[in-house]
């Protein structure tokens, strides 16, 4: 069966520090991969999605970037974190024919 792993679960980082969140999927090939951010009291905002290795689409201009170095690996990064980057980050995958997204357990990022 397919599983999605996302780590770390929680992270506290100072302003200006770098960020790297990793997400891996097992049990499937060629998934679509997604990074969402959930700010307190708000819905999920799609940050990036990828339909293949090295193919990244950005939905909103921001201080973050994403990379997909391998088929089932999706990384969210920042060179210098801002206070406004705090939030709950969720990785997700869907099958190539799209539609249903399966989510990781999320990373709670607090920038201090």
């Amino acid at each position: 069966s397919q599983t999605i792993h996302q780590w770390p679960a929680t992270l506290v980082q100072p302003v200006g520090s770098p960020l790297s969140l990793e997400c891996t999927v097992e049990g499937t090939s060629n998934p679509n991969l997604y990074w969402y951010r959930q700010a307190a009291g708000r819905g999920l905002q799609l940050l990036f999605y990828s339909v293949g290795i090295g193919q990244i689409s950005s939905e909103v201009p921001q201080n973050l970037s994403a990379s997909r170095p391998q088929d089932r690996q999706f990384i969210l990064s920042s060179k210098k974190l801002l206070l406004s980057d705090s939030g709950f980050y969720l990785c997700a995958w869907s099958a190539r024919d799209g539609g249903i997204a399966f989510f990781g357990q999320g990373t709670r990022l607090t920038v201090v």
Binding site: V51, A92, S94, G99, A101
Partner: protein, 112 residues
């Protein structure tokens, strides 16, 4: 522009009472539609989905949703709510681009 709207931020119901959570969508064509549930600090779990066909879809945990094209709605229902249903519920829409757009969520509180 494509959008998914959940007009109710919070809903409180008594245990054993019926539940309906509202969701409206705005898409050029009939989108794929989903309902997810999120427990505090956790990822999202898929409750049910609508792609095409029968407009009344059954999901897990006793939930169902009805697609109404004329009203651009996909409301989630449950005939009898249990205390364990207290969580945040998200409606989402997708299309052939495989990007899911989420509503802002509805927090369900269950009174004993």
């Amino acid at each position: 522009a494509q959008s998914v709207t959940q007009p109710d931020i919070h809903i409180t119901v008594s245990e054993g009472a019926s539940l309906e959570l509202r969701c409206n969508y705005s898409y050029g064509a009939t989108p794929y539609l989903f309902w997810y549930v999120q427990s505090p600090g956790q990822g999202l779990q898929l409750l049910l989905k609508y792609f095409s066909g029968d407009t009344l879809v059954q999901g897990i945990k006793g939930f169902e949703a009805e697609f109404k094209r004329s009203q651009s709605s996909f409301n989630l229902r449950k005939p009898s709510v249990h205390w364990s249903d207290a969580a945040e519920y998200f409606c989402a829409g997708g299309d052939s681009s495989y990007k899911l757009i989420f509503g802002s969520g509805t927090r369900l509180l269950v009174r004993p």
